[in-house]
């Protein structure tokens, strides 16, 4: 497999990235998000499908949409998604051959 889903981010990935970035870097955003996810996400130009990927902690879906992996990882930690949950979601996307150097 490639190290990257996209060698140049799509606008869709950019918009998701922007939410994940601001959520964990602007001072009041994480609290606002935790208080009312829908209201927070409405600040951004996201389709309902994209907003749903974030609000439902759809780690696999965010990965497939091309979200930057460091933003996704920081979001998983920052939202306290259990490690085994986020790992399992990612692992579910493994294709044959991707695991050849699994150890």
């Amino acid at each position: 497999m490639s190290n990257w889903r996209q060698m140049m981010p799509t606008t869709e990935a950019y918009l998701l990235d922007k939410v994940l970035y601001e959520l964990h870097h602007k001072p009041d955003d994480l609290a606002a998000y935790n208080e009312d996810k829908a209201a927070y996400l409405a600040r951004f130009r996201l389709t309902p499908e994209l907003a749903e990927k974030i609000s439902s902690n759809d780690v696999a879906g965010l990965y497939e949409a091309g979200v930057n992996p460091y933003l996704l990882r920081a979001h998983c930690i920052g939202m306290r998604i259990p490690e085994d949950v986020s790992l399992a979601a990612l692992r579910s996307l493994m294709k044959e051959g991707d695991d050849k150097w699994l150890n």
């Binding site: 930057n68 992996p69 986020s86 692992r91 150097w101």
Partner: protein, 284 residues
Amino acid sequence: MAELTGIYTASHTPVMLNFPDRIPTELRTEIFGAYEAMGRDFEAGRPDALVVLSNDHLHNFFLDNFPALCIGVGESYESPIEHWLKAKRRVFTGDQAFGAYLLQEALKADFDPAFSMEMVLDHGSLTPLELAGLDPDLPIVPILFNCVQPPMPTMRRCYQFGKFLGEAIRRYDGAERVAILATGGISHDIATPRMGMVNREFDERLLQLMEAGDSEAVVAYATNQVHTAGNGAEEIRMWMAAMGAAAGLPFKRAYYRAVSDWYTGIGIGHFGENSLATVGSIDG
């Protein structure tokens, strides 16, 4: 004319600080010991200043203005920036004059770095400095490479930048003794289906090629094989730069283990005639 007291390469990962207990105590002690050994070797060179080659993990930089290279010219650097990182807050002293010199020389030498007068360093810089137990008042110049969001500078370009950097440091009049710490890699995946796997064959081959001293072969291997070693392995750009700065000094690995539960192939190495004792082994 500054002397390069040591050029070190070392992995970093937030997991070391956030989830230390995911690995057995004995292994953790061994790994932390290897970082401390690097720190002692580092300090034996008595550097006046430290150039840290690392990468930002989308904290200071976002996709609205993402630099391929960025040279720090701040008076000081707070750390960490991650609200979720389990590390105590520190303030690193910046070597502003040295940073300005390197920035101006880089532009003259046909590199196109961004510059920053204010950054909050993330775990990429903090972890190895913390684990090595380095004097927090040692003035630093952070130089950040894009290894985290394609499109990124090529491995060859990072090597060339390192060559420039070594020459510019050696010409510098403002410090007597300068060390370089390049941090990142080796094999790991962040937030991909492969996360938690380590390609130890990639790591072993990379370390072997570096020890063999053929820089061209190392750059070619890094360029052609990095996709087999995970998106976190893209951080070996800083190892390429360290190799460029070393300008032919021999490389020796000091530590290596593939640590799946910390998601990372953890390597520590050193360019130079004097020696860090090698601990750990490839089949750890």
